[in-house]
């Protein structure tokens, strides 16, 4: 079973997407956890979280983006320009951060130069940066407009009952993933951080029904005694987006196991549930906007510190790796204060800056990890 998760996590296209497309169904890409998957699912389409793995050049990404931009959206644009996302029928770009929001224009312009690489449905979703009654109302309106545009463009209907069903389905998978987190937090964590990441990542690229079935089959096997820890140190990873299994392998190569995280391709994506009662759009708006774990939500540092601290304690971590992609000032700067405040609470931390994409700096990161492991051993 883990092989199936790994296979999906390591590729852009996968057999589930191929089968989905063969049945004549649509796929909608999105780059950030502030886009509710449930709406796309309720439209009968496959929500697919955009990634930039397996890029070998940034020739297209650098043509449209400027030089001091995060490599994550650049890699997505690179893949799109190369035709790597030709299976998409639509894409929703969100102002997750300033680098990400400009993917909207850069992809549109690249689409003019590389015909056929811009999906037929292309939408910008504005998400407020604060939680207040009026920002929730704004975001709920944005979601209603998003629903309407999907309905109009694709000739589908997204009624309340079907949206509720999608919410319940996604909540079920979230509960299963929270259960997996509990198992990872136990003294005998059942799987490596690399494999845990594969399990979570697969969920962003395959039909949720199938994914939930696979999780249900997979999790009971994780309750057996395991030799994964075997005296190794327990690590937690915090910070910028990371969907590269090799990065986790690298982190674990010096005698550690990643047993917890607060990343958007990780626990941040399933940590909280959507209210299953009441108006589904309002419920989605409340869950997704109140999701303050990303530093793009300004002024919620204390909540994020408490979240990390609580997870670190429950997972009994020996150390925290605070990482950020270069030019990700939101995570990078906040990591600086996390380091101060978490070290003051007795949790060893290491800050590291890296590039997204192929691990071209393995040696440097390995050296830093080795030094950190030596410190906490």
């Amino acid at each position: 079973m883990i092989e199936s998760f790994r296979e999906v996590a390591r590729s852009i296209g996968n057999r589930y997407v191929e089968e989905w497309k063969e049945r004549g169904r649509k796929v909608i890409g999105y780059p950030c956890t502030f886009v509710p998957d449930e709406i796309i699912h309720a439209a009968g389409m496959l929500p697919y979280r955009l990634r930039g793995i397996n890029t070998t050049t940034l020739s297209i990404g650098d043509t449209y983006f400027g030089p001091v931009i995060c490599s994550f959206p650049k890699c997505i644009l690179q893949l799109a320009g190369q035709g790597g996302y030709s299976f998409l029928d639509g894409a929703v770009i969100v102002n997750g951060c300033d680098s990400m929001r400009r993917l909207d224009e850069c992809w549109r312009k690249a689409g003019e130069d590389y015909p056929g690489t811009l999906p037929g449905y292309f939408r910008y979703l504005g998400v407020p940066h604060k939680v207040a009654d009026y920002s929730l109302a704004w975001y709920a309106d944005e979601l209603r407009a998003f629903v309407k545009s999907l309905e109009e463009h694709f000739g589908v209907s997204i009624g309340t009952p079907v949206l509720r069903r999608s919410i319940r389905l996604y909540n079920r998978a979230r509960r299963l993933l929270i259960g997996l987190d509990d198992l990872r937090s136990s003294p005998e964590t059942p799987l490596s951080g690399e494999d845990a990441a594969a399990v979570v990542l697969a969920g962003f690229a395959m039909p949720r029904e199938e994914y939930t079935r696979m999780l249900r089959k997979f999790l009971p096997g994780m309750e057996k005694p395991s030799q994964v820890m075997n005296g190794r140190k327990r690590l937690m990873v915090v910070g910028s987006t990371s969907d590269d299994l090799d990065f986790f392998r690298l982190l674990e190569s010096s005698g550690g196991v990643v047993v917890s995280d607060t990343m958007c391709f990780g626990s941040r994506s399933y940590h909280d549930l959507v209210d299953e009662k009441g108006d589904p759009i309002e419920a989605l708006a409340a869950r997704y906007l109140s999701h303050k774990f990303c530093p793009r939500m300004f002024g919620y540092y204390k909540e994020r510190l408490a979240f990390i601290h609580e997870r670190a304690l429950s997972a009994r971590v020996d150390g925290i790796i605070l990482q950020n992609i270069r030019f990700c000032d939101l995570h990078g700067s906040e990591n600086g204060i996390f380091e101060r405040d978490l070290e003051a609470r007795g949790i060893p931390c290491m800050r590291i800056e890296r590039e997204y994409g192929p691990l071209v700096e393995t040696g440097r990161i390995r050296m830093r990890i080795d030094a950190f492991m030596e410190r906490i051993s």
Binding site: T63, C97, R102, K130, F298, D329, S333, G336
Partner: protein, 466 residues
């Protein structure tokens, strides 16, 4: 940070220099020239302003008085708020809060201090702030974080929605120093009822925050008089924009910096009105005589800055352009989008109009004004959407009869670096020669000033502009 840098507070240090600089104008021209030789590292920058006569002298005095107000606020029983250049300050003054404009303090330090803000930029990195963050905040922020400047009582920023780097600096300062934080957040559209309602609700929450942290309530009469003053200032700034459209441009280059520098310090205060009046008078005289604002009395080319200016090395940008007979047509920072501004009004609701009719109308229209401050208006949405960056630049370039457009920025500007290649391509397609330079407007270590002038000169030559 060097020991001697820690000897005096950053803000106090700048204030004493500017306070004394303002006094040099009280002597005779001969005494003034003699004094300049005593301040070799600051003399050339000071002279750029003093040479302007009354407006330049008033500007130095206004800035000096502003900094004095910031550093003495606590002893005078006033609260201070660390805030951004993009925040319209009348509401803060109405609640007797002294706004400490971080970017203005970075510019003051960059221009005035012998070693610029390098050590403060680096100090931020030492305590965990990323080196890739925007230097326009980081320069002065290092002083506030290191305790070498007046500790603010609260933080008010209005950049979420249009600049993550800016907002992140203020959020970092709040978390690092443990200071209350309020953010005004902007949706991606500037006009229309939905955006307007959002702006206004958010603004009312800001007022509640400010009242809560000062223990005072808005005084309608006081707010009214500040709005009166702001309206006069808006008219004067609009007139300067009108005058800039003339060929030759009668507005001296340095007025670009003086407009937004002074507005960041004294928006809504009478001293800004007096300064702007003296600037308008001078430009009117030039216009009547058909003279350009340049000291050389020649205008070979007209350059517009689609984003910010360059502040290092004695603020030489404006002087260098002046010496090369190039008119500076302003940057994004000196456009405020009043409904009566010559560049506003194409789209319904694009500009704001202050309304003194009632307390509610004053608050609502101040919210409208704040939502159209420089950068808040035009880089919040897709660059090619109506009323956004491309739209504004094309309109301004045509009105101002610009020969070329320049993009200067900072290494920390994720937002504009994410779209500027597209913008430049589109401007060029419209026949506007456009130059994009990879530099940091506050940090010469990225590209030296000499390299900057070489690149601009070469661009002008190669494109046959002048």
């Amino acid at each position: 940070m060097k020991r001697e840098t820690r000897e005096y507070n950053y803000d106090w240090n700048i204030w004493t220099i500017l306070e004394n600089a303002a006094l040099v104008c009280d002597g005779t021209p001969k005494e003034y020239r003699s004094l300049l030789s005593c301040i070799p590292h600051f003399g050339s920058a000071l002279d750029i302003f003093i040479r302007q006569g009354e407006p330049g002298i008033r500007f130095i005095r206004l800035v000096s008085q502003y900094i004095r107000n910031c550093i003495t606020a606590r002893e005078r029983g006033k609260k201070t708020a660390l805030t951004s250049f993009s925040m319209a300050t009348p509401i803060l003054y109405a609640l007797d809060i002294v706004p400490i404009c971080l970017e203005a303090f970075t510019i003051f330090g960059t221009v005035v201090l012998k070693r610029g803000t390098g050590e403060f930029l680096d100090y931020c990195c030492e305590i965990g702030f990323t080196e890739t963050s925007c230097s326009s905040q980081r320069g002065a922020l290092g002083a506030y974080l290191s305790g070498l400047a007046t500790r603010p009582d609260m933080i008010v920023c209005n950049s979420p929605g249009w600049c993550d780097s800016n907002a992140n600096s203020y959020a970092f300062a709040s978390a690092y120093l443990g200071i209350p934080f309020y953010q005004l957040n902007y949706p991606s559209e500037v006009s229309g009822k939905r955006s307007s309602d959002y702006h206004r609700q958010d603004y009312r929450h800001l007022i509640s925050f400010l009242e809560g942290h000062t223990g005072t309530r808005i005084d309608t009469a006081r707010l009214g008089s500040i709005i009166d003053e702001t309206m006069k200032q808006d008219e004067l700034i609009n007139e300067l924009s009108d005058l800039q459209m003339l060929v030759p441009n009668p507005v001296p280059n340095i007025y670009d910096l003086m407009i937004y520098g002074a507005k960041s310090c004294a928006n809504g205060l009478p001293e800004l009105t007096v300064l702007l009046s003296s600037m308008v008078d001078r430009c009117r005289e030039n216009a009547v005589k058909g003279l350009p604002g340049n000291s050389t009395a020649r205008e070979k080319a007209r350059g517009m800055f689609c984003y910010i200016d360059h502040y290092t090395t004695d603020a030489r940008l404006w002087d260098w352009m002046d010496a090369n007979d190039i008119s500076h047509l302003g940057s994004i920072l000196c456009r405020y989008w009043q409904a009566d501004a010559p560049y506003a009004g194409t789209h319904d609701g694009e500009g704001y109009r202050l309304d003194k009719g009632s307390l509610d109308s004053m608050i609502d229209t101040l919210a409208d004004m704040t939502a159209r401050m420089p950068m808040v208006k035009q880089i919040r949405g897709p660059y090619d959407a109506p009323q956004m960056w491309l739209d504004d630049n094309l309109r301004l370039a045509r009105l101002l009869k610009a020969d070329f457009v320049v993009y200067f920025s900072t290494v920390g500007c994720r937002n504009t670096w994410g779209a500027v290649k597209l913008l430049v391509r589109d401007l060029e397609k419209q026949g506007l020669p456009s130059l994009m330079l990879f530099l940091d407007a506050f940090d010469d270590r990225v590209m030296s000033w000499d390299a900057v002038t070489d690149r601009i000169s070469e661009f002008i030559h190669v494109r046959g502009i002048a």
